[in-house]
Symmetry: C2
Subunit: 120 residues, 2 copies
DNA sequence: GTACTTGTTCCCATACAACTAGAACAAGCG
DNA sequence: CGCTTGTTCTAGTTGTATGGGAACAAGTAC
């Protein structure tokens, strides 16, 4: 599981990490029970702070996608499979939305904002 | 056009305002040519700073949804109709996505993150 | 048991974004 | 002309993101 960051991007580093891990779960690269690299290792290899990596892990824990335990590390939650990030209906819905957004030439900010609002 | 804010929310105030205005355009509450309330008035009624409101307006201008002119105020851009924020296909796509997200019990953050990733 | 791993929780410091505050300015309107 | 309204500027406060370091707690390995 290769993680990368772009220090120049507007998104916070921990959000970049969380997004890649979510995408990996959705793509099936990571499955329930799989272990994530220790936060210290990720921090060292990306040359960023331990706290930053842990914050990404904790965000995923708050979303119910990852389980964290001292001494054991971070593992993909069983719920991540059950909850179905790779559910066919969900992925179809996302693909359709992206296609519609592109068709209308909408700014990505506009699209994500509309979705966020619709989810409230 | 009633605008509200939640000072305790993690989203910046100007983003909250922009999101509501986008949603209003998408819902048809606001149409091309309609005038937005003067920034000073909004700032006063919400008890926030003029700059914060103007930043929301400017973000919408950058997205092509609103036009700003000194002395005349802020108006919904013609493109806002053409671009079709209230396009049937778009709205159906959003509704479907929201339904799928709810069905799977996904955290809103997870859903929006996946969409943002898919739009890149 | 001891040693090691790994997340958790503190401390603090720095950099940047968000917000506030106030003022002056410029374009449009009546 | 006066009034409205967005634009631009300066400046200060606050919160978040990130970094750096340390101690701690729960789990694993021997």
């Amino acid at each position: 599981m290769l993680l990368t960051i772009d220090p120049a991007a507007p998104e916070p580093l921990f959000e970049q990490l969380a997004a890649q891990l979510r995408a990996a779960i959705a793509a099936g690269t990571l499955s329930a029970g799989d272990r994530l690299a220790p936060a210290r290792d990720v921090a060292a290899s990306l040359d960023i702070n331990l706290h930053t990596v842990l914050r990404a892990y904790q965000e995923l824990r708050d979303e119910g996608l990852v389980e964290l335990r001292r001494g054991r590390g971070a593992t993909v939650a069983a719920r991540a499979d059950d909850a179905g990030l790779r559910d066919a209906g969900l992925r179809a819905a996302i693909d359709t939305l992206v296609a519609e957004s592109r068709r209308l030439g909408l700014d990505p900010r506009t699209t994500t904002a509309l979705v966020k609002e619709a989810l409230r």
